[in-house]
């Protein structure tokens, strides 16, 4: 509900919420944390300051990120297998290769503790205050926002226990209690929606920002630029996140975009290009971006990333790029391996400990696959529900009455 924090007490609470966000400062050391330097410099557009090129991370944090990313990787591989086994209903776009983005971003988002209402930055537990809206490539964002692998896979399989009752499928996952406004099938449609979400945060003075994600291909839709203008006009707390995975379907960025430096394409909106394959770098840049959006208005954040799979399951993904290109990214920049290397190098974990984590995640994903397969399909009445609010028996959706009578196909009703 869009209710402004007007009552004095609520307004004070909102100010307190905002005061938990002093302007961006370099990360500080804390107990048990170790310092990590990033290895890819940022590219900046119209920004006089930049995020730090290092961060401090604790064992608990890094292990959490690794576990999440590894789980997402296994989930996408399981989705691939399910699709090939003809279990998946509809189109299916996988996110493997891009996991660091959703995990790193989520780690910098603000969570509300459901019982105390306190705001934290813990990755797991709590509900996200910052809103998020993305494209059809949404499986892992759903998990990052707290949903289970079973709910995601069930949705893929069109099962009633899926996150959208099996009615949305791969491209349409949502999580209202974590402000995840879901996957959009129409390329670019989510950009202005993100501006509207940001306006609501500003109006409510709740300290939240909106992240609206789009691809390098989507960056050429006019709607994005309409959204950017509105956002700049009203200094909305929105971050336009370009997940640049180098291709929009079969078209490489240089063939679709006159300017493929997407971080500069907000023109009058500042921008930053970030190594989207390093979860810690994504986290630090997002922390900066969130504060920038709250204090100064919109920002474009380009995530340099890569998708391993083809565009969707019907695209083998090797006709417009070669296997070597995919293999070399896997070898040099894989985001999951990267996090694992950090854990080992920082001596936060031994290889044996990580093996245990991996085994546990694998069995969680395997169990989710079996559960999703066993779940029920949606019942027939779901065809005509969720179309309008308050649909009653009298409010008849024509053509939906399956009984064999004269009016069935709409001659009388």
């Amino acid at each position: 509900m869009l209710r402004r924090a007007a009552a004095p007490r609520a307004a004070a609470a909102a100010r307190r919420a905002l005061s938990t966000y002093p302007p961006y400062a370099e990360p500080a050391a804390f107990d048990g944390a170790k310092r990590v330097e990033f290895d890819v410099p940022y590219e900046l557009h119209q920004l006089s300051s930049a995020p730090a090129s290092f961060t401090y991370v604790s064992k608990a944090e890094l292990l959490d990120y690794y576990t999440q990313m590894y789980k997402m990787r296994r989930m996408e591989i399981a989705s691939d297998t399910l699709y090939k086994g003809k279990f998946v209903k509809g189109f299916c776009h996988l996110y493997d290769g891009q996991e660091a983005i959703c995990v790193g971003m989520e780690a910098a988002c603000t969570k509300k503790d459901p019982s105390s209402g306190k705001l934290t930055n813990a990755l797991t537990g709590g509900e996200s205050l910052d809103s998020l809206v993305t494209s059809y490539r949404d499986h892992c964002h759903q998990v990052a926002r707290g949903d289970t692998v079973e709910a995601v896979l069930s949705e893929l399989l069109g099962k009633y226990k899926g996150c959208a009752k099996g009615k949305g499928g791969s491209m349409h996952m949502y999580r209202a209690n974590a402000n995840f406004f879901g996957g959009n099938g129409i390329v670019g449609a989510q950009a202005p929606i993100g501006a509207g979400l940001a306006f609501a945060h500003k109006y409510k003075e709740d300290g939240g920002v909106a992240f609206t994600l789009y691809g390098d291909g989507a960056a050429n839709q006019g709607q994005l630029y309409e959204a950017m203008n509105m956002a700049a006009l009203w200094k909305l707390p929105v971050v336009f996140v370009c997940e640049n995975n180098q291709y929009g379907m079969g078209t490489s960025k240089g063939r679709s975009s006159a300017n493929s430096d997407y971080y500069t394409r907000g023109h009058y909106i500042p921008g930053i290009k970030v190594d989207g394959m390093n979860v810690l770098n994504v986290r630090e840049a997002t922390r900066f971006a969130k504060l920038h959006a709250l204090h100064n208005g919109p920002l474009v954040m380009e995530m340099d990333t890569y998708r391993y799979h083809g565009h969707s399951m019907s695209d083998p993904g090797i006709t417009y790029r070669n296997r070597d290109e995919v293999a070399s990214v896997r070898k040099a920049r894989d985001p999951v391996e990267r996090a694992k290397r950090y854990l080992l190098e920082l001596e936060f974990a031994t290889a044996a400990e990580l093996k245990e984590v991996e085994v546990a995640v694998r069995s969680e994903v395997d169990a989710a696959v079996e559960a999703a397969k066993a779940n029920e399909l949606p019942p027939a009445h779901e065809l005509y529900e969720d179309i309008y609010v308050g649909q009653t028996k009298e409010f008849f959706m024509r053509g939906c009455d399956m009984s064999a009578s004269r009016g069935v196909y709409g001659t009388t009703k």
Binding site: K165, K167, G185, S256, P378, L383, G399, G410
Partner: protein, 349 residues
Amino acid sequence: MLRPQARRAIGRVSLSRRLSSQVPATAKMTMFAAINDAMRVALATDPRAVVFGEDVAFGGVFRCTMGLLEEFGKERVLNMPINEQGLVGFGIGMAAVGGTAIAEVQFADYIFPAMDQICNEAAKFRYRSGGEFDVGGLTIRAPANAVGHGGHYHSQSPEAYFAHTPGLKVVYPRDAITAKGLLLACIRDRNPCIFFEPKVLYRSSVQEVPTGDFMLPLGKAEVLTEGSDITLVAWGAQVHVMLKAAARAAEEGISVECIDLATILPWDMHTIRDSVRKTGRLVVTHEAPLTAGFGAEICATIQTHCFDSLEAPIARVCGADTPFPLALEKLYLPDELKVYDAIKQAVSY
């Protein structure tokens, strides 16, 4: 599988067509190959013709533009960025100076971002300039209809939205032969045309298609099977559902006249009127939702012209009034049994 009666009828139609058009040579083609062939003929015979759309230089999602880049070059076969509104507007500009703009919108579901350019610009260009300009050289191809698993954004049949816009032509082939003949006719027609391709037929429809220059008339419905008890009307992929239902009814001795409307706008009222005056019964079936689907227009017009001949209420067998569903697609679709049921209801009224 088509029942023998339907199969014979289709055979008759294509035979008569072959005789009327000076026995052209034919080649076995899928529907996507036939569409490809139509564009190849257009590019070869019209130096102003240009093909463009998302990924079309690589052949497009459904392979309809395969080989065109290699044959006609990158000045005439353009890969578009993802911007439907922009690409249709681009085609309008090209057509306004006499170009032949053949645009592909990757799925009919993605035509909505271009709705403004189609309905406000293309459709009204001639009228608002008092006939000084037109964009007759514009044709927009878009894959439409269900595929069994497409869900919300790969399944819709948006013809009725465009049928509500005077100035456009809206056309649906039912197979490889009609796809070639009607597409080439659209490309050469001097009005902006939208050509909806039933995507489920791209590979499954395989026919002996006339090679070389071959056009079929726009604005003309085609009687596929002659009958005396009831008239059925459909277009696009639904034609095949209609034919199966008709064959099922024929086994019970019901004589069904099946008509493929083919052009939705401007539609061939006369062929349907004459048929309903003869049979006294009409069932219209389409995949798009019932309410305000194009079937409504047909029913309203036919009851005006055939009121005295009608033996039963006109029935519509359509998609349900829901978004196109991912789950429960079978329930949503106006399948063979639903059409058959409507035939039975009408003849026993």
